[in-house]
Each structure stands twice: as structure tokens, then as C-alpha cells.
């Protein structure tokens, strides 16, 4: 892990970025972007999740491959959840 990564100031900065992004999510909810609404909201949420995983959970600086494998497998399982669920939504007869 890089040196500045362990300082308290760095974590405070990440925390502030997360707060700002939360603010952006709330503000964006008041603007109607049509089909872009969920894309923007999910984009911000994914960025926030990444920040938490990489810095607060120390995955970015982890030297061990096992840690990365664990994170990747969790993401993989999330993709299964989303992918197979969407397989229903994409092909359902909505009429």
C-alpha cells in the first residue's frame, strides 16, 4: 500500500468524495434525464462501491492474489445475480 494511502487525511478525502457523490445522486434525482436516470444513478453507485472496496477495504494495495480473487469472485457472483435476473426481464412478455 502506498504511503499516502495509510494516512488519515487520505481516508477523510475518500470519505468526502463519497459524501459529494451521495449529494450528486440526490441532486440528479431531481433532474429528469429519461432513460439515462438509472444509468447515472448506478454509475455513481458503482463508483462509490469501487472507492470503498479499493481504499477502505485495502484491496488496491493488497499484495496477496487471494484477496483479489475473493473480491473478483464476489463481483462474479453479483454478475450472476444481475445477469440471470435480467435474462427474465429482457425476455418476459410484458403485454
Amino acid at each position: 500500500m502506498s504511503e499516502h494511502g495509510t494516512s488519515i487525511g487520505f481516508y477523510v478525502m475518500i470519505f468526502l468524495i463519497l459524501l459529494v457523490l451521495t449529494g450528486v445522486t440526490v441532486s440528479a434525482a431531481f433532474i429528469n434525464l429519461g432513460p439515462l436516470n438509472p444509468i447515472l444513478a448506478l454509475g455513481i453507485a458503482t463508483t462509490k462501491a469501487l472507492l470503498v472496496v479499493l481504499f477502505f477495504m485495502h484491496v488496491k494495495g493488497a499484495s496477496e492474489k487471494l484477496v483479489k480473487l475473493v473480491v473478483l469472485s464476489a463481483v462474479f457472483f453479483l454478475l450472476i445475480l444481475l445477469g440471470l435476473t435480467l435474462s427474465d426481464y429482457a425476455t418476459r412478455l410484458w403485454s
Binding site: 440471470l84 435476473t85 435474462s87 427474465d88 418476459r92
Partner: protein, 549 residues
């Protein structure tokens, strides 16, 4: 839990090292925490059993004459919630897994002993919340919380029950986390992955499911509570939500949860079959990897619970095919256990009787699962007693048989006492017969069209005979479950002291004392042998070779 008959100067072990309530409530010893779990889950097992008894008594006659319809709804809901979340899921991992995982890999304790204790406290907090919920009105949605009934209609204690399950879920996550880290990090020198007992492989696979699946159900329950209290439109169509989204999210965890229940049982059966046929398990690598395969495939099949709910027929087709895939690793296990028996030197002690019972019942439960994976048949039997019978064959016939088999197998190690073998064999037989008598008629009932969750079937009086058989079976099953509890308790005071290895079994846990010392081994073990080296164990030592006259 002291050992009052112990002779003076008895060897120090985890039971007699310290006495007093505090030494138990603040312990970080995985073996003591296992016993705390044992007492807690047994308590909930009998509460869940009591609800089952009332359900069966109501169904004894076609008319709804024992309880009201609303009460009946609450009875099967609370039966399901208590049995699934407070008995079956923690049963083997939190009791036998907690006790044995460190011992089997040659470790002093789990990787995070305090987190282990925390998991028990979370379980207890969740359990107390659930008890409070039951005593102040209960829930009537079925254990599945289906929306929109749970979010928009029922006035029962959804949020409280959901929170109880949420808290208990974290206890399950922490147990899984502890096992994964322990199995990776704390194996004794020489205990390679290919030498791990299959019990450990099964618990490793179970832990993966606990870690990856449980957060999903926890969040789903939070979403139900959010929709119910804040009227967010997530599942309710009136608010722009989709009720099937709930079913997707719920079953993403709750189907693999069945494997949380059955995989550890399969691990136990592998240990017992090897020991009581005195052979290395046939196809060790395949049995080990089939546990992982079940854990992975188990995550790909959930929407077979939604076949008639209105999901896309194309998705249903895919999920039907994927559901068949789970049968492959399950069959690998069953065939390999059977192949292990071939030319084995088989002994019919109580644990083995339970293991045989497991194989038979699991096979019937598993094969009827294939019926339900088939789209056409599933449409016919959805929400009938056929489904109820199927999952009870897996979750009670399979999981509980394995649990009882494991309790008998390791009871001498856990308590340092021998249980009465004759009574134990009788109990195994009673459980097997009682189980079939309870649940086999339900297959027939379901196939004939009796829906589940009905308290009154007076328009179908011809179903009474099968229901009476089922209720009679439940009574026998109840006796079968009470017996082990009685003689285990009896043996703690009056049972003969157990030798360190009463079964002459392979495995590191048997190289420790019975009961084990607090840190399991006096000297750190070094493993130089393969798993299940029964041929080696049973080979006559040169100095013991029979003298030829």
C-alpha cells in the same frame, strides 16, 4: 455441562478447565461456542417442532377445527422461519463445524475466536427478536415473505421478523467467514488441500454460500421493510415496483441456503461411510470438488421457484436446464459413497445407520427435485404437498439425518462419554420409519392435488387417510428426535468414559483427547498421511502380526 463422575485429578479439558456461567458466556473456545450453539439450536428445534405438531394435528381432520385460518397461517410461517433460519442453517456448521473444523485441520482454534463468539451473540439477539415477534402476534406470510402481500396487505409483524432474520443472517456470515479464513490459513504442517477431510471441503463450500448469498437476502429483507414503512416502489406494482424482483432476490439466497443445510450433512456422511466401511472414500477428489460444484451450480438455479409466477418462458427454460445440472455433483457423491461400501468391512453402528438413512432419503428428495426442475411437471405440482414432501426429504430427511449421524459419531469426542448404542440404533430406526410415514404420503397427496398451506380440506375428504398417516408419522418422528436428546443428556452423567478414538477412525480430531484440551492438541500435529488411510490403520503392525504355529 461439568463432568461430575470424573475421577479426581482428571485430565484438564475444555469442559473442566473453568466453571461458571461467565466462563461460558465469555468464552472464545470454538468447542464451548459449539456447545452454546448446540443448546440454542436445540431450543429452537423444539419450538419449530411444536408448530409442526400443531399443523399436523389441524390436518388430522378435513375440517378446520383446531385453530383458526389466521392462526394456521402463522403456524406454518413460524415453523418455516424458526426451522430454516434458527435451526437448519446454523445446525451443522455452527455446532459440529465450529467444534471440528479447527480440530480436523490441526489448529488451536478458529482464525477469529472473538468473531466466533460474536456470531453466537448475534444469533441469540436474532433469536430473542424472533421469539418476541412470535409472542406478540407472529407473521402470516409464509417463511418466504412474498410481496406484495408482505409489503402492502398483511398487518402482522413483518418488519420485526425480517430484522430478526437480518441479524441472524450476520451470525451465519461471520461463521462462514471464520471457516474460510481458518481453512486457508490455519492448516497444520502437511495438511494439504488434497489431505483435507471431506467434512472440511463441505464446510468450505458451505461457507462460500454463506458469505456470498446471505447479504443478498439481508438486503432483500431491508427492502421489504423499506417498502412497507416508507412506501418506496421496489416490489409493489402500484408503486412502480415488480413483485417478481422480490422472488428473484429472495431465492438467489434461499435456494443456495438449501445447500448450506445439505452440504455439511454430506461432509458428515463421507466421514461416517469411510470410517464404518474401513476404506478410503472412493473418488476422493471428485467428492471434494463436487461440494464446490454444488455451491457454484446452486447459485444458478433459483428461478425454478418462479416457474408459475410469471417469469419469461425463455428464462424458465434456462433455469430448468441449469437445475438439472445440480443433480450431477449430487449424484457423484451418492455413487461414490455407494462405491466406497463395495467390499468394505461394514459396521452397522448408529452413525452408520443415520448415514444410510441419509443416502436413502436424500436420494428420494433429490430425484423428486428433478421432477420439479422439469417445467411441465412443476406446473402441475407447484404449491402442492409434493413440494412440501420434496424439500422435507432434503432438509429433514437429508440434513437432519446427517446432523444426528454426526452428533452420534462425534459425541464421544465432544462429551468424553459413550452414548448407549442399542438405544441409538433404535432411535435411528424410529426416525427413518417416522420420517417416511410423515412425508411419503405427502408426495401422494401433492400429486393428487392437495395444495400446501390449506388448513381446511373438507371439500376433499378423500385426502384424510393420507393426512392421518402423515400425522401418525410425525408423532413417531417426534419420539425419534426426543430419544437422542434424552440419552445424550443421560450419557453426560452416566455414560462410560469414551476412549480418545472409540471408532478407530482416521482424522486429526481423533488424535486429541476425549474431551479435547482447550487448545486441542498438546503438540502441533504434523500430517504425513493421506485422508482416510483406513487400510494403513487396519493393517497389522509387524510386532502384532499373528504368530503362525
Amino acid at each position: 455441562m461439568a463432568m461430575p463422575n470424573g475421577p479426581q485429578g482428571e485430565r484438564e479439558n475444555y469442559l473442566n478447565k473453568e466453571y461458571g456461567v461467565g466462563s461460558w458466556l465469555l468464552t472464545t473456545d470454538h468447542k464451548r461456542i459449539a456447545l452454546l450453539y448446540l443448546m440454542s439450536i436445540t431450543f429452537f428445534f423444539f419450538i419449530g417442532g411444536f408448530f409442526a405438531l400443531l399443523i399436523r394435528l389441524e390436518l388430522l381432520t378435513p375440517a378446520g377445527d383446531l385453530v383458526q385460518a389466521d392462526t394456521y397461517n402463522k403456524l406454518f410461517t413460524m415453523h418455516g422461519m424458526v426451522m430454516v433460519f434458527f435451526f437448519l442453517i446454523p445446525s451443522i456448521p455452527a455446532v459440529l463445524g465450529n467444534f471440528l473444523v479447527p480440530m480436523m485441520i490441526g489448529a488451536k482454534d478458529l482464525a477469529f475466536p472473538r468473531i466466533n463468539l460474536l456470531s453466537w451473540y448475534l444469533y441469540i439477539i436474532g433469536g430473542v427478536m424472533m421469539l418476541h415477534c412470535m409472542l406478540t402476534g407472529g407473521v402470516d406470510t409464509g417463511w418466504t415473505f412474498y410481496t406484495p402481500y408482505s409489503t402492502a396487505f398483511t398487518n402482522t409483524k413483518i418488519v420485526e421478523a425480517g430484522l430478526a432474520i437480518f441479524v441472524a443472517g450476520f451470525s451465519s456470515i461471520l461463521t462462514g467467514l471464520n471457516f474460510v479464513v481458518t481453512i486457508h490459513r490455519m492448516r497444520a504442517p502437511g495438511m494439504t488441500w488434497s489431505r483435507l477431510p471431506l467434512f472440511i471441503w463441505a464446510h468450505y463450500a458451505t461457507s462460500i454460500i454463506q458469505l456470498l448469498g446471505t447479504p443478498v437476502v439481508a438486503i432483500t429483507i431491508v427492502l421489504v421493510a423499506a417498502e412497507r414503512t416508507l412506501h418506496l416502489g421496489i416490489f409493489d406494482p402500484k408503486l412502480g415496483g415488480d413483485p417478481l424482483l422480490f422472488q428473484h432476490l429472495f431465492w438467489f439466497y434461499s435456494h443456495p441456503a438449501v445447500y448450506i443445510m445439505i452440504l455439511p450433512s454430506m461432509g458428515i456422511v463421507s466421514e461416517i461411510i469411510a470410517c464404518f466401511s474401513r476404506k478410503r472414500i472412493f473418488g476422493y477428489n471428485f467428492v471434494a470438488l463436487s461440494s464446490i460444484a454444488i455451491a457454484v451450480f446452486g447459485f444458478l438455479v433459483w428461478a425454478h421457484h418462479l416457474f408459475v409466477a410469471g417469469i419469461s418462458i425463455y428464462a424458465a427454460f434456462v433455469f430448468s436446464l441449469l437445475s438439472y445440472a445440480v443433480a450431477v455433483p449430487s449424484a457423484v457423491k451418492t455413487f461414490n459413497w455407494t462405491a466406497t461400501l463395495y467390499k468394505g468391512s461394514i459396521r452397522y453402528d448408529a452413525p452408520m445407520l443415520y448415514a444410510f438413512g441419509f443416502i436413502g432419503l436424500f436420494m428420494m428428495g433429490g430425484l423428486t427435485g428433478l421432477f420439479l426442475s422439469a417445467l411441465g411437471i412443476d406446473v402441475h405440482v407447484t404449491d402442492t404437498y409434493f413440494v412440501v414432501a420434496h424439500f422435507h426429504y432434503i432438509m429433514v430427511g437429508g440434513a437432519v439425518m446427517g446432523y444426528l449421524g454426526g452428533m452420534h459419531f462425534w459425541w464421544p469426542k465432544i462429551s468424553g462419554r459413550l452414548y448407549p448404542e442399542g438405544w441409538a440404533r433404535l432411535a435411528a430406526l424410529i426416525v427413518f420409519i417416522g420420517f417416511h410415514l410423515t412425508f411419503f404420503p405427502q408426495f401422494v397427496l401433492g400429486y393428487l392435488g392437495m395444495p400446501r398451506r390449506y388448513y381446511d380440506y373438507s371439500h376433499m375428504p378423500e385426502f384424510q387417510v393420507l393426512n392421518v398417516l402423515s400425522t401418525a408419522g410425525a408423532t413417531i418422528l417426534g419420539v425419534g428426535y426426543l430419544l437422542p436428546m434424552i440419552y445424550f443428556l443421560w450419557s453426560m452423567r452416566y455414560g462410560k468414559p469414551a476412549p480418545d478414538n472409540p471408532w478407530n477412525a482416521a482424522g486429526l480430531e481423533w488424535k486429541s483427547a476425549s474431551p479435547p484440551p482447550t487448545f486441542n492438541f498438546d503438540v502441533e500435529p504434523v500430517v504425513t498421511w493421506e485422508a482416510y488411510n483406513y487400510e494403513e490403520l487396519d493393517a497389522p503392525h509387524p510386532q502384532e502380526a499373528p504368530v503362525v504355529r
